[in-house]
């Protein structure tokens, strides 16, 4: 499992020698995230521009300085089948990716350190995405408190961003909608990050078929996700998380984590069985807003909004009201 260490940074810079790692952003599960940038004048002489012999070959490092600030994600500890699935899903998502996701600039698997010519301790799957000038929703959540219209607009933005994934014939699901994975541009537009796939890569990722919980963020993951009921995980799983998000933003209180320092199992029990107070009572919201959120957070998927179209239509109706 990678951790931000000098060794990992050295390995990354050996593989991508014009890369400057400016800041370690986050570390979760099997992934480390950095902010960085490339400097073309650091490209060593042994890295040549494409010679045109392979029409599919893209420039490596050359011209990457123009990307400006970038986000570097490093995954390790994943088996080849999982990595192939990750690449397959990444490629498909590239096809359907709307503007509300960061652009993927480069990804590759590194197995050797080219400077030492030794095998890396762990194979590193590195992806580089554009940096979005924005604030994470988690940092500005207070600005939404009690503002139904602003919250509904945000939920519409999230839903429209996810719609191509939900509508894809492979039925993608984000599975990790939460404030930390939502970026708000200065003009208020929402950008969804972490398509849920990279996050899952690894021992308890997409290949997890055994007993026990599936991958989820406590408090935001739907009951079927916690229970690893793969057949029940669908776009409605994202509806649940969006409902939780709307509840939190409006009331300032998490529906299933009402007090600090709750243990994981307590949160899981709450998500599975607790029916939080209606928003009309807890935060004085409108009946329509409260009903929408309550329906999104129903424990059983079939009781939630039946289709993405209905989900979005109801949100738009709330916007018009």
């Amino acid at each position: 499992m990678p951790t931000d260490s000098q060794e990992l940074r050295d390995d990354l810079v050996a593989c991508l020698p014009s890369l400057n790692l400016d800041l370690a952003l986050a570390q979760s599960g099997q992934r480390v995230v950095y902010l960085g940038h490339f400097e073309d004048n650091k490209i060593p002489p042994d890295v040549l521009p494409p010679d045109g012999e392979d029409a599919d070959e893209k420039p490596f490092l050359h011209g990457w300085g123009a990307w400006g600030r970038i986000v570097v994600k490093v995954v390790s500890g994943a088996d080849p089948v999982t990595l192939a699935r990750l690449q397959a899903e990444t490629a498909i998502l590239e096809e359907v990716r709307p503007t509300c996701f960061p652009k993927l600039l480069y990804c590759n698997l590194f197995t050797d350190n080219p400077v030492t010519d030794e095998r890396l301790k762990e194979r590193l799957y590195v992806s580089i995405e554009e940096f979005i000038d924005s604030s994470p929703l988690s940092a500005i959540a207070d600005q939404y408190k009690g503002d139904e219209q602003k919250i509904v607009k945000l939920a519409v933005g999230i839903s429209n961003a996810l719609l191509p994934l939900w509508a894809h014939h492979r039925k993608f699901v984000h599975r990790d909608i939460k404030p930390a994975n939502l970026l708000i541009r200065p003009n208020g537009e929402v950008v969804v990050i972490d398509l849920g796939i990279v996050r899952e890569t690894g021992a308890v990722g997409v290949t997890h078929d055994g007993p026990g919980p599936g991958p989820f963020t406590p408090g935001y993951g739907a009951p079927e996700q916690m229970n690893n009921e793969k057949n029940a995980v669908s776009f409605k799983t994202d509806f649940f998380s969006i409902g939780v998000l709307m509840y939190c933003l409006h009331s300032g209180v998490h529906p299933f984590v009402p007090r600090a320092n709750m243990a994981m199992h307590e949160i899981m029990i709450a998500v599975a069985s607790l029916h939080p107070p209606l928003l009309t009572d807890a935060a004085g919201s409108s009946q329509g807003f409260s009903d929408f959120v309550a329906k999104s957070m129903l424990k059983v998927p079939w009781q939630r909004h039946r289709t993405p179209a209905i989900f979005i239509e109801e949100l738009q109706a709330l916007q018009q009201n």
């Binding site: 192939a84 698997l109 080219p114």
Partner: protein, 383 residues
């Protein structure tokens, strides 16, 4: 049968093709859809295709590598993406399409693909049969087939597994050739494991004794040792990932990465040595250099350059291909027992050359050293 040498085609496939067509190195190619789009393969001269086999490379069936996806029968191209549960419904059409392609292109033999399974699951053979083997056998009719199998070292070394593998690969009357590659995990570039080499030689020998032809893919220079087991076909490749098998190659973008320092193959050492180390041997120990280096036009040109070649330029690979062909030309006319003697004498000479370099204080980078030779010697002395 006779010894054979095929190009294990990899990144920049034209290097292999040129080496075969223009330089007379190798008896043919193992074509690689990972590196050659369908249109590229179809444009090869008919004589080149007739001398070659086409490996469909279903080892990682959900790989998204662009060139693999240019083949409509590649599993990830079927039904919107490969899934084990749904592929079974499509495998008959995949088999038909893949076999038709191989027949139309006039390759030497139709290759039956299998997938890479890295564990010795009890259901291993059932999975392989259901994945592709049954359907390919059914659609191939009576034409002779080559079964491709990617094995792990324990599958070859564990007696029970080895027996099951042998039982399986010899159970198809239509198959008269097997194309085997092994994943031998190690931290060294050369196989420095006498026990494994012996087990692999015995494994190949056992297969050949049943009357099946053997092509051993993804071999580094250890492939030469297997000629002591009998008349089989070994391979030579340019980039390291064509000389060491790993499914990682189906995930990497080879052109879009920084490569290691360039190496040159020195046949008198049976090893690849960093180019700058080779130049130090040439200047610091010219007699040793004369013993271990076999000049070729490509190596001479590289040695004359002021700027060192990089790993992604062709001359040092074409030099290797020529050296390997020379090795094989020397071994081919001999009986297996005489090949063993010749190899042992050459290994002894290589060990002497390394000793001399050491004596003269010419240190070599780790992977350019001769640690593998003692193991090779032990292996050949054990068979």
């Amino acid at each position: 049968m006779a010894l054979g040498l095929l190009h294990q085609v990899g990144h920049n496939s034209k290097w292999n093709v040129e080496s075969f067509e223009n330089d007379g190195c190798g008896d043919g190619l193992i074509l690689s859809p990972l590196h050659q789009a369908m249109g590229t393969v179809e444009k090869l001269p008919p004589e080149t295709r007739a001398a070659s086999i086409f490996d469909p490379q279903f080892y990682l069936p959900n790989s998204r590598k662009t060139k693999l996806l240019s083949y409509p029968f590649f599993p990830e191209q079927v039904d919107g993406g490969f899934q084990t549960s749904t592929f079974v419904a499509h495998v008959p059409e995949v088999a038909k399409s893949c076999i038709d392609f191989q027949v139309q292109q006039g390759f030497r033999k139709v290759v039956v693909p299998t997938r890479y399974i890295n564990q010795m699951y009890p259901s291993y053979f059932k999975q392989q049969n259901q994945f592709t083997v049954d359907a390919f056998m059914e659609h191939a009719g009576s034409r002779p087939l080559c079964l491709s199998v990617a094995l792990t070292a324990p599958m070859i070394q564990d007696p029970e597994w080895r027996e099951q593998v042998l039982n399986w690969i010899t159970s198809f009357p239509e198959v008269d050739e097997v194309y085997i590659m092994y994943e031998h995990e190690r931290s060294t570039k050369q196989v420095a494991d006498a026990r494994f080499l012996v087990d692999c030689m015995t494994f190949c020998s056992d297969i050949m004794n049943t009357g099946l032809a053997v092509t051993l893919g993804y071999t580094n220079t250890e492939g030469l040792l297997y000629t002591a087991a009998g008349d089989l076909t070994i391979t030579m490749g340019a980039f390291e990932n064509t000389r060491i098998f790993s499914v990682d190659k189906f995930l990497e973008s080879e052109g879009e990465r920084r490569g290691p320092k360039a190496r040159i193959y020195l046949p008198g050492l049976f090893n690849w040595v960093q180019f700058e180390d080779a130049k130090r041997i040439r200047s610091g120990a010219p007699e040793v250099w004369a013993q271990v280096y076999e000049p070729t036009e490509w190596a001479e040109e590289a040695l004359r350059r002021e700027v060192e070649p990089t790993f992604n330029q062709s001359p040092l690979y074409k030099h290797y291909f020529r050296n390997m062909q020379d090795h094989m030309d020397e071994l081919s006319p001999l009986k297996a027992s005489d090949r063993r003697k010749l190899l042992l004498s050459k290994i002894a000479a290589a060990m002497g050359a390394y000793r001399e370099l050491n004596y003269r204080g010419i240190g070599l980078e780790k992977h350019g050293q001769g640690g593998h030779l003692m193991e090779w010697q032990n292996a050949l002395n054990s068979v």
